[in-house]
Every structure is written in structure tokens, then in C-alpha cells.
């Protein structure tokens, strides 16, 4: 026994202590509990992984039977394999850094203990998600992180936009989760079990499906779940709005960990997808289209967190492209490096906002290079990493994905390359607008305290060097290896695309700052279209939200509920009243009429008795 449950117990204990007692204990103690529980969790993860060694085969710990009903038997089982090991380290490692950062960032905020309680609860559910050894337990973690996401997006719940964003995230995720739960039902009816080992063992005995078969349907339903959680087309709309939450939340939940749950889940189900090429190809297309689409929107956003949010959607699209191209390890590799540099970008953005008293508009920043130097240098590291400049981390993972995409479909490769150029452009646009030029706001920018800058520095090192963690090599035993021919040509193309993106950004925002506005006004229609995010929110609103709201209001509420259900109840009531109105006339108060009724009743009784006697 390696006591995997302890990994879950630490953050859960932190949640319980802070959640139940946080209001009464001191702020220092709240911080100590929150950060301490995650640190212990990380220590335990490292210890378990060191003890387990190579992890050639999944290590499973079975604790108790959770649900037993008919044929359905679900146990509270945790397992660790190499994929889980990677996820555990990312979640606890990045999670710890963000917890430390948040202690500084949230220092002046109300609801300090509430924030850390939710953050610890999130860690618990996220770790449950990656440790689960069956689909139902994974689903518990999946829903749990969704709940924490909702709670933390709506952390500033007094602000209506934050409450709305939380609701939006929750509801959009329900659509995806509906697909996921259908997939779980289908898995159970097909395989009679929900255990990963059992299901994937049975899947491996099946033939590859050429058309649409059961596995393909399962794969597509799982993909619907993944598009919800990992913000892919068509369910990506919640993620940009989720930036209403505090910035550490955006970094931890909406960039580094939770949104990658869909990627993890698809990779976990690689056995199913490998036997359902149609589903796998759909994954690739969804991924590449999301990557390009979100990158285009990200080009023109003026809110620094919105830029990074669309960037996250886009990079998640890359991960799905990698998975869909059959390079599961490349997708997970990008997940890891993305966790480093995107968490860093968000934390850096948070640090900038912190120094500017919450300003998020890029147009009101500028020239911050010297005023917040640590933030600047670490964000520069993250930017070169995400832009794919060799030899930093993003280059390695993105290159692995693009090589796989080339083999899968050259068209996807080219879309990916163009997206890489756009990625480099929008990230450096944000960087230049923030740190170059003259300061365009009114505040007095100051560098953040060390509790915030130290996590930034650590993440900066990881962003730069994270590409040398040999994640694909480590995962080679977990996923079937396909022939990889590292092509220098392909790498050269993607690198030059990235560099040209950076160059164009430099041209527009540093060298000739007026140029961007000129082009924007020349292409006014197009600019407006992109700036307004292709009006996707408005289209969804008109096509889905309003019909649902109107249908609910007019048909379900006014007609069915008020008309039929309430109407029936009220009609019964009013009819009773009407009958009573007639009958109460009998209660005249006149004793002699009562007596007459009594006599009439007695006579009737005698007559009836007489008739009955006669009949017998």
C-alpha cells in the first residue's frame, strides 16, 4: 500500500478546516492551512511516485465498494500510471505555486478564507479526477471541478457580470456533461463495467471500426464532454467569460489544470479512440478549428485576460489536434508546457493588474518594463515559450504536435502553422502593449511583493526549460508509438511562422504604433467582426438561449404550469367552493328545518330497510 488516498485527504482537510473554521481563525493560519495542505499533497505525490518507480503497469488501490446495484459495481478505486503521474505532478506543482502567489494576490480581498477553501476543494476534485480508476469516479471529480470553477468564477458574486459568467460556465458545461454521462451509460451497457482496466482490456480485443460503430459513438459522446470542459468549439464560449474570477483562479483552473481535464480524458480513453478513427479524426478537426478560430479572436482583444483566455482556448485546440492526430503523448506534453507558461502568463497579468489597481485594459498600460521588472522578465519568458521560439518549452511540444498533424493531414498542419504565427502575434502584441511605449494610465505602478514574484520566477524557469522534460518518452509505454520522423523542415517552417508573428507584432506595436489603427480602420468591417468575437455569443443567444427562455416562459410556465397544472388545482378548488356555496344553504340556523331533515332521513332509512328486507 502506498496510501494514495492521502493525496486526496490533504486538500480535502484543508478545505474542511478553512471552509468550516476559516471565518474564526486568523488570516495567517488560513494561508498556512491552504498552502500547507497543498505542499503536503505535493510531497506525498513525489514520495508515492518515487516509491512506485518505473510504473510499467498501472498501480491500483481499491478501498471499498461505492455502488453495488444489480450488475453495476463501482468501487472507490484509485490508480496511478504514467499518464496520471504526469497529471499529478502538474496539478500539485503548478497548484502549489499558484496557491503561494494567491496568498499575495488575494491579500487585500474580502472572503480570503472562502477563496482558499474553494481552491483546496478544487485541488481535491482535480486530483480525484486524475486518480480515479473508473469512469464514475472520474465523473465525480469532473463535476466537482466544475462546481469549484463555478464558485470561483462567481467569487465576486456581488458583481452581476461575475455571477452571470459563473452561471454561463456551469450551464455550458452541463451540455458537455450530458454527452459524457451518455457515454458512461453506453460504456456500461456495452462492457458491463466502468473500470478503466476492464473496459480498455475489452476494447483492445475489438477490431478497429471502419464506419460508425459503438466505439465511435462512445468516442464522440466523450468528445462532447471534453469540448465542454476543455472549451472547444462549439462549447468554448464560457471560458473567456470565466475571466471574471480572480486571476489566480484563471491561472489554476481556467488555464493550467481544469480545462485540460478534457485532454486528459481523451488521452485516458486512447484505446477507444484508436479503434474509432472517425471519432479520432473529429477530435483533430475540432482541435485545429478551435485553435485557429480562438487565435483569430485573440488577435484584437483589448482586455489582457481576454487575450490570454482566447489563447488558452487556442492552445487547448492544439492539444486536441495532437490527440486527434494520434500523438497522445504530444498532446499531454503540450498540456504540461502549457500549464507552465499559461499559468505564468495569467499570474503575470495578475501581477500587472495588481500593480495597476485592477486595470485590465491593454490600452491603459504601456511602458511597465522598468516599473515591474520581475513581472516583465517572467512574462517575456512565458511569451517566448508559448510563441514556440526554440529552444523554449512551447517549441518542443508544439513541434511534436505539428509533426503528428503533418502525418495525419497536411491541411491541418498548415492551419496549425498559421495559428502558431497568430499565437506569436497576439502574445507579443499583449506584451508590447503592456511593457513597451509610454505608460497610458493614471496609476502609480509598483512591483508586486516577493510572495507573488517568486512563483513567477519559478514558473519562468519551467517555461524556459520545461521542454526538456521528456514527457513523450516517459509516456511511450502508455500510448502506442507511431513512426515519428522528426523533420527539420517542418520545425523550420513553424519556427519561422512564429518569428514572423513576433516581428509583425513588433512592427505594429513598437516600431510604428499607428500602423495597427490604420489597418484596423481600413478593414473596419472585418475588425468589428473579429473584435466582437464573430458574434458567437449573440448567435447562441438568438438561436438557443432565447428560444429556451421564451419556450420556458410562454409554453412551459404560462401554458403548462400556470394553465394546466395550476389551472387544474385551482379549478378543483373553485368547484368545491361552488358546490359548498349551494350546500351551505342547508345550514339555515332554523332548528325546525334541521328536525325536518332528521325525520326525512329516518323515514328514508325505514323505507330503505323495509325494501331491503322485502328484497331478501
Amino acid at each position: 500500500m502506498h496510501h494514495l488516498w492521502l493525496i486526496l485527504a490533504f486538500p480535502l482537510a484543508g478545505f474542511l478546516v478553512n471552509g468550516l473554521l476559516g471565518r474564526r481563525i486568523s488570516k495567517t493560519l488560513v494561508t498556512a492551512v491552504a498552502i500547507g495542505s497543498v505542499s503536503l499533497c505535493l510531497v506525498w505525490v513525489v514520495k508515492v511516485l518515487l516509491d512506485l518507480g518505473g510504473l510499467g503497469a498501472p498501480y491500483v488501490e481499491r478501498y471499498f465498494t461505492w455502488i453495488q446495484s444489480g450488475d453495476l459495481k463501482v468501487g472507490f478505486d484509485l490508480s496511478v500510471d504514467r499518464l496520471t503521474a504526469v497529471m499529478l505532478l502538474v496539478v500539485t506543482g503548478v497548484g502549489l505555486l499558484i496557491h503561494i502567489y494567491a496568498a499575495g494576490y488575494m491579500d487585500h480581498e474580502g472572503g480570503y478564507y472562502r477563496f482558499f477553501a474553494f481552491l483546496n476543494l478544487f485541488m481535491f476534485f482535480m486530483l480525484l479526477l486524475v486518480l480515479a480508476a473508473n469512469f464514475l469516479l472520474l465523473f465525480v471529480g469532473w463535476e466537482g471541478v466544475g462546481l469549484c470553477s463555478y464558485l470561483l468564477i462567481g467569487f465576486y458574486f456581488i458583481r452581476k457580470s461575475a455571477a452571470d459568467a459563473g452561471k454561463k460556465a456551469f450551464i455550458v458545461n452541463r451540455i458537455g456533461d450530458f454527452g459524457f454521462s451518455l457515454a458512461i451509460y453506453l460504456l456500461f451497457t456495452t462492457f458491463g463495467s466502468l473500470d478503466f482496466a476492464t473496459i480498455f482490456g475489452a476494447v483492445n480485443e475489438r477490431a478497429t471500426e471502419s464506419g460508425i460503430g459503438t466505439l465511435t459513438v462512445i468516442g464522440l459522446l466523450l468528445l462532447i464532454g471534453a469540448t465542454g470542459k476543455s472549451a472547444q468549439i462549439p462549447l468554448y464560449v464560457w471560458l473567456p467569460d470565466a475571466m471574471e474570477g480572480p486571476t489566480p483562479v484563471s491561472a489554476l483552473i481556467h488555464a493550467a489544470t481544469m480545462v485540460t481535464a478534457g485532454v486528459y480524458m481523451v488521452a485516458r480513453c486512447s484505446a477507444i479512440y484508436l479503434r474509432a478513427p472517425v471519432a479520432l479524426n473529429t477530435v483533430a478537426w475540432i482541435g485545429v478549428l478551435t485553435a485557429a478560430f480562438a487565435a483569430i479572436i485573440g488577435l484584437v482583444q483589448n482586455d489582457i485576460k481576454k487575450v490570454f483566455a482566447y489563447s488558452t482556448v487556442s492552445q487547448l485546440g492544439y492539444m486536441f489536434l495532437g490527440l486527434g492526430a494520434g500523438a497522445f503523448s504530444a498532446g499531454i506534453f503540450h498540456l504540461v508546457t502549457h500549464a507552465f507558461f499559461k499559468a505564468l502568463l495569467f499570474l503575470g497579468a495578475g501581477s500587472v493588474m495588481h500593480s495597476l489597481n485592477g486595470e485590465q485594459d491593454l490600452r491603459k498600460m504601456g511602458g511597465l518594463r522598468r516599473r515591474v521588472p520581475v513581472t516583465f522578465w517572467s512574462m517575456l519568458c512565458a511569451s517566448v515559450a508559448i510563441a514556440g521560439v526554440p529552444p523554449f518549452s512551447g517549441f518542443h511540444s508544439k513541434d511534436a504536435i505539428l509533426v503528428a498533424a503533418w502525418r495525419h493531414s497536411p491541411l491541418m498542419y498548415w492551419i496549425g502553422v498559421i495559428t502558431a504565427a497568430m499565437t506569436a502575434f497576439y502574445i507579443f502584441r499583449a506584451l508590447f502593449l503592456t511593457f513597451w511605449g509610454n505608460y497610458r494610465g493614471e496609476g502609480h505602478p509598483h512591483e508586486s511583493p516577493p510572495v507573488m514574484t517568486i512563483p513567477l520566477a519559478v514558473l519562468a524557469l519551467l517555461s524556459l526549460g520545461g521542454g526538456y522534460f521528456d514527457v513523450p518518452g516517459f509516456l511511450r509505454s502508455a500510448f502506442p508509438v507511431r513512426q515519428t520522423h522528426n523533420s527539420e523542415m517542418l520545425a523550420l517552417i513553424s519556427v519561422s511562422a512564429s518569428l514572423s508573428g513576433i516581428a509583425v507584432a513588433w512592427l505594429f506595436y513598437v516600431y510604428r504604433p499607428a500602423l495597427a489603427d490604420v489597418i484596423a480602420s481600413k478593414l473596419k468591417g472585418l475588425y468589428q467582426l473579429v473584435y466582437n468575437k464573430f458574434y458567437v455569443d449573440e448567435i447562441y443567444d438568438a438561436a438557443i438561449v432565447r428560444p429556451v427562455v421564451h419556450g420556458s416562459t410562454n409554453l412551459l410556465w404560462q401554458a403548462v404550469d400556470a394553465g394546466i397544472i395550476d389551472g387544474l388545482v385551482n379549478r378543483i378548488g373553485s368547484q368545491s367552493c361552488a358546490v359548498g356555496n349551494v350546500l351551505r344553504r342547508l345550514q339555515s340556523g332554523n332548528i325546525r328545518s334541521y328536525a325536518a331533515w332528521v325525520v326525512a332521513g329516518a323515514v328514508l332509512a325505514v323505507v330503505v330497510a323495509g325494501f331491503l328486507r322485502g328484497a331478501i
Binding site: 339555515s588 340556523g589 332548528i591 325546525r592 328536525a595
Partner: protein, 102 residues
């Protein structure tokens, strides 16, 4: 010794009961209505006793006693109510005492 047949008692009882009912239904003075009720009770008593004699059984007598006891109690309560009503309403006409209604 010539005994009176049972049917005579029963006819007398029925006649008395019918008079009681008519009085109860027709008369307006509450005292008279009360007396009508007593008449009905005693009509029933008569048939009880008559049957008891006919069948040489004691049950009827016991019932008759019960009825008398109940009638006595009822008379006490009833007259008290009548007094109370008269003090409040200054009338004994039952048609005028009809406020207990819907």
C-alpha cells in the same frame, strides 16, 4: 285475567311518537318543542317496557331506565340553555333564534 295485547301498547307508542314529531316540527315555542322531545322519549320507553313484558326479559326495563336518566340529564341541560337563551334574546320563538348558520 285478560291481558292487554302487545299491539295496543305499540300502537299507543307510535301515536305518542307521531304526536311528538308533529309537535317538534310544528310548534314554535321552544318549551313546547322540548316537551315534544320528552314525549318521543317516553313513547319509546313505552315500547321498551311493552316488549320487556311480552318477552319476559329485563333488558327493556334497563333500557327504559337509561332513557329516563338521559332524559333527566337532557332536561336539566336543555332548560339551562333555554334560560340562557331567553336572557340574551328575550324570546323563546325558535324561528327567531337562527344566528347559528352559514
Amino acid at each position: 285475567m285478560i291481558s292487554v295485547p302487545l299491539s295496543w301498547y305499540l300502537v299507543l307508542s307510535a301515536v305518542l311518537f307521531a304526536i311528538g314529531i308533529s309537535g317538534f316540527l310544528i310548534r314554535r315555542n321552544i318549551i313546547t318543542v322540548f316537551m315534544s322531545i320528552e314525549l318521543m322519549l317516553n313513547a319509546v320507553n313505552l315500547s321498551f317496557v311493552a316488549f320487556a313484558r311480552q318477552f319476559r326479559a329485563v333488558d327493556g326495563h334497563i333500557f327504559a331506565f337509561f332513557v329516563m336518566v338521559v332524559a333527566a340529564a337532557e332536561a336539566a341541560v336543555g332548560l339551562a340553555i333555554i334560560l340562557a337563551v331567553f336572557r340574551n334574546r328575550a324570546t323563546l320563538q325558535i324561528d327567531e333564534i337562527d344566528s347559528m348558520k352559514y
